[in-house]
């Protein structure tokens, strides 16, 4: 079955993305990692759709793609603001929302 390796790949990608998200301090790289995680999820949907022969998987992929695009556009806007205000892209430097 093709789905198993695809799912494995998706898991690996998700893991890589997560590690990247947790280990990188630069906020741009964290966004990149986030994209990887999203795409891993999307890959899992494709694999699932192929496994069950259903179109739903591809629909969800399109959704995720759109979502990712939307998210990136908002996120990049925030990143721009952050770099403009704090003169840095280090995520650990921002803790304005601490309780």
């Amino acid at each position: 079955m093709l789905s198993t390796p695809a799912l494995l790949l998706a898991t690996m990608l998700f893991g890589l993305g997560l590690i990247g998200l947790l280990s990188r301090r630069n906020i741009l790289y964290m966004l990149l990692s986030l994209e990887i995680m999203l795409n891993a999820a999307a890959l899992a949907f494709i694999a699932g759709g192929a496994r069950w022969g259903q179109v739903d998987g591809e629909i969800m992929f399109l959704f995720i793609l759109t979502l990712a695009a939307a998210e990136v556009s908002v996120a990049l806007g925030i990143v721009l603001q952050l770099s403009y205000r704090f003169r840095t892209l280090d995520a650990d430097a921002f803790s304005e929302m601490r309780g």
Partner: protein
């Protein structure tokens, strides 16, 4: 004419309204006209009503007039209704007549005062409330007047408000009487719950039907009304406010704290006499309270320094006589003493006021003396007043009324012999302290110079009252002395006449009268011995061990003030001084709990995005692990 009755209490009220709302803009002359005029017109209408009352009405029973229904529910109907009978007419006549004289006197006495309009406004309100009290047809309206006079008393005691101690005296008067009023109110609740009516006439008839003599309910109600009366009339144990109440201007003391308001308790008990007759034990208490108060007050009056305090204690003492008379069932005698007392005590206060006025507000009798020559008018009128109060036989009104009371105490089936002995001792003390005043103030060497006799407006009331103090006694002359009985039959329409214990005849009455006369004259004579030039006698007496104990004890009114200070006032202040909201602390626990959680939980919100991401990842893994298991 009778239908003008409603105007009697309303006219002074109108005077009050004019003065209260517009008094500041009126000239002093006009204020005096409004103030005196409203009461004077009331007095005139009283006279008109009186003419018809005595001639027009068959058997002079009573006359009712309703203005409107005050409270009108299906359970309770109480009208703003007036009830005129012999008893209330007597009170109305005294209040308007003496009230008018005192108003007239005040126009001169207070002529330099800033609060001229305010004074007359309060005085008019007082007269109105007092008339409401005595004309009320039901107990609730009576209570309105009762509280109204209390308020005016408060306002007038504290009339010179810039002195904090006067304010304290005013508050004391109001609060102490309010304690009595509250008991009175509870009495009203019981009466209404039991009898479903508050009309005085109906309450009396229904109570007689419904409650057997000596039943608990009658006792409780009578005791509660008695507490109310005791508060208002400054009798034991609520007497402490009256001496301090002398802080008010002297006309106020004359009108409120001598002639009218303080006798409201006497009026109440006389009004509700059927109820008290149902509770013989309570009636006995009335007598004992009266007797104790009269001795307490008479002994305290002996040692006071302030002329007005002497008179205040003497008022308590004389009202004690009235209570004693009520207690032994001599209703008419009590009212007769009320009548004579309001004449001679008003006279004494006004004359004392005239002394104080001439001495620039000096009230200490030890700084007075020899005023006999400087103030002849004042001296003679004061002398007549004092003679009437001590009961100088035959010529003064006080003799006839006091003699009637003592004879009643002697002969009543309700009294005991020791009561009579106590009352006799009181008569002796009365003579002593009255003439102590005379000798201290008007005889001896001059200590403070007086600046002339008062003017006409003050002199006329003095002379009129002096005339009354000599003459009203002739309304009731005991038959050992000729026998002319007008007052007793007049009141017998309303109040039952006292039965005499068997075995009392003219000779015992004559003996009793001689005893009374002797004790009064002995008191006066002893006063002459003590307080005329040879002052050293008194000083030596005061210096002995007994004197050193009794003089301060009596000066403090038998230590009641200090007792109440310890027992009630200090605990009360301790209670209210740091009375925090202890209930609020319960909610404080909630607040502390919320804050505790807040501090702990807010630490997890670091603001670091990678910390959030990591916790999300770990949390997801843990959840997945949970599902996998």
């Amino acid at each position: 004419m009778m239908n003008l009755l409603w105007l009697i209490p309303i006219l002074p009220l109108a005077g009050f309204l004019i003065l209260a709302l517009h008094g500041e803009h009126l000239s002093r002359r006009l204020v005096a006209w409004v103030g005196c005029g409203s009461v004077g017109m009331s007095a005139c209408i009283t006279a008109l009503v009186g003419v018809e009352f005595f001639h027009g009405l068959p058997d002079r029973a009573s006359y009712q007039q309703t203005m409107w229904n005050w409270i009108d529910t299906s359970e309770m109907t109480v009208g703003l209704s007036w009830h005129l009978d012999a008893l209330s007419f007597l009170m109305v006549a005294v209040i308007t007549g003496i009230g008018f004289l005192i108003h007239l006197y005040s126009t001169e006495y207070l002529s330099d005062d800033d609060g001229y309009a305010r004074f007359f406004a309060y005085m008019n309100l007082f007269v109105s409330a007092m008339l409401t009290l005595v004309l009320a047809d039901n107990l609730l309206l009576l209570y309105l007047g009762w509280e109204g006079v209390g308020l005016c008393s408060y306002l007038l005691i504290g009339f010179w408000y810039h002195k904090p101690e006067y304010g304290t005296a005013a508050q004391k008067a109001f609060i102490v009487t309010r304690i009595g009023d509250t008991a009175f109110a509870v009495g009203l609740f019981i009466i209404f719950t039991q009898l479903k009516t508050l009309s005085i006439q109906q309450v009396q008839t229904l109570a007689v039907e419904a409650w057997p003599v000596g039943s608990n309910i009658a006792m409780i109600v009578a005791v509660l009304l008695l507490i109310g009366a005791v508060g208002k009339s400054a009798q034991l144990p609520l007497q402490v406010w009256l001496p301090d109440a002398m802080a008010g201007p002297t006309p106020v003391s004359a009108l409120i704290h001598a002639a009218t308001m303080v006798t409201a308790g006497v009026y109440l008990i006389a009004r509700m006499h059927d109820l008290f007759a149902l509770a013989p034990l309570v009636q006995g208490i009335v007598a004992v309270v009266g007797l104790l108060t009269l001795l307490l007050a008479a002994s305290s009056a002996l040692v006071q320094h302030d002329i007005k305090r002497v008179l205040a204690y003497s008022t308590m003492s004389q009202i004690g006589y009235m209570f004693l008379a009520l207690g032994v069932g001599a209703w008419s005698a009590a009212l007769f003493h009320f009548l004579t007392h309001s004449c001679f005590k008003a006279l004494l206060f006004l004359a004392a006021g005239s002394v104080i006025h001439s001495l620039h507000h000096e009230q200490d009798i030890f700084r007075m003396g020899g005023l006999r020559r400087q103030l002849p008018w004042t001296f003679w009128t004061f002398l007549i007043g004092a003679a009437a109060m001590s009961g100088v036989p035959l010529i003064t009104a006080g003799f006839y009324s006091k003699d009637w009371i003592l004879w009643s105490v002697w002969s009543s089936p309700l009294s005991q012999q020791w009561m009579w002995v106590g009352a006799l001792l009181g008569a002796f003390l009365t003579g002593l302290y009255s003439f102590r005043l005379i000798f201290r103030v008007f005889f001896g060497e001059v200590r403070t110079a007086a600046h002339g006799e008062p003017g006409l407006a003050m002199r006329v009331p003095l002379v009129v009252l002096a005339g009354l103090s000599l003459s009203v006694g002739f309304l009731e002359i005991p038959h050992t002395l000729g026998g002319l009985s007008l007052f007793g039959p007049y009141l017998s329409q309303v109040l039952p006449t006292m039965e005499v214990r068997p075995g009392m005849d003219d000779s015992s009455e004559a003996f009793e009268q001689i005893a009374v006369t002797c004790s009064a004259l002995l008191g006066i004579g002893l006063a002459a011995f003590f307080f005329l030039p040879r002052v050293s006698v008194v000083d030596r007496l005061v210096g002995t061990a007994v004197g050193r104990f009794f003089v301060p004890f009596w000066q403090g009114g038998w230590g009641f003030d200090r007792l109440y200070e310890r027992a009630f006032i200090q605990p009360w202040f301790a209670l209210t001084r740091d009375a925090g909201e202890f209930l609020d602390r319960g909610y404080g626990v909630l607040v502390t709990g919320a804050e505790f959680c807040h501090v702990r939980l807010s630490r997890t919100q670091t603001g670091h995005i990678r910390w959030y991401a990591a916790t999300i990842a770990v949390g997801t893994l843990m959840l997945l692990g949970l599902f996998a298991l």
